[in-house]
Symmetry: C2
Subunit: 145 residues, 2 copies
DNA sequence: GTTAATGCAAAAACTTTGCAAACCT
DNA sequence: AGGTTTGCAAAGTTTTTGCATTAAC
């Protein structure tokens, strides 16, 4: 339930969009592919990435598209740093973000690492953790704990 | 080291500020007290709270003061929702934030709940978790997991 | 041909900055 | 008195919105 079956082909996307009355446009494809490719990207970075691919998309379209894709469950966002939210695809399995305060690096950890933890939260607080949104701030190995 | 000894009186604050060449002003007191009182508040909410207390403080002063207080370790901020960062006092012991997607409620959990988890992150990734900044998104008991 | 989506430009929301006046010590 | 802090206003960022035009279906 936390993980979605992911459409991987253009046709799948179209079906998913049309089911809600939306249309498949080149801009939407470009944005989705950019998010896929970038890993974690701010709207701004998505725009830049799309531009590199030699097609122009307006920044407002990027915002609107990211919102749409999130509604469809194709992307998610997290707050990895203080500035803007970063978007990532849901095609790859959910993961935990470890963000280093020292160097700003972002490591993705296997959700298994947090299993006991989430179990415990459920037991003690009745709280169902959304592992895909879990961001842990701290200090990475090389920045010395 | 993660928890700070907290000054609780006006005099303590003054000492802390003066040690770095800063001054104790009514605005700074008002902001700090507002953060204390509010629990988790955006800069905007801090401004509103201060205004209610019948003293006017400029919004830019709120921003500057929150930054200063954070530098001094008296407050910290977290990203509890998508909009603005929320500030909270460090006078209360570090805690984990459980944010419900359904109703938006924020519950504070005891850091003990995450001890095994942080130990494990240290073991497997050499990652030192900043527990005070840990925010967990998910679904609370009443919103049904 | 319809209806949804885009681009553009303007507005809104949020945060930062420069500087003279006011205030803390 | 002297240097820090404030308020104000202006500028910087980031995100949203309205509307005519374009494009998907």
């Amino acid at each position: 339930m936390a993980t979605h079956a992911q459409p991987s082909s253009r046709q799948d996307w179209r079906t998913l969009l049309r089911a809600k009355g939306y249309r498949l446009t080149p801009q939407r494809e470009l944005v989705l592919r950019a998010v896929d490719r970038l890993g974690h990207a701010t709207p701004d970075e998505v725009l830049a990435a799309v531009h590199q691919e030699s097609e122009a998309v307006n920044i407002s379209t990027v915002y609107r598209t990211l919102e749409l894709l999130e509604e469809l469950g194709l992307v998610r966002h997290a707050h990895l740093h203080d500035r803007a939210p970063t978007y990532h695809t849901t095609a790859t399995p959910a993961h935990v973000h470890l963000v280093c305060r020292g160097c700003g690096s972002v490591v993705e950890a296997d959700p298994k690492v947090v299993e006991e933890f989430t179990d415990r939260l459920r037991d003690t607080h009745g709280f169902g953790t959304d592992v895909g949104h879990l961001t842990v701030f701290g200090t990475c190995a090389s920045c010395g704990a």
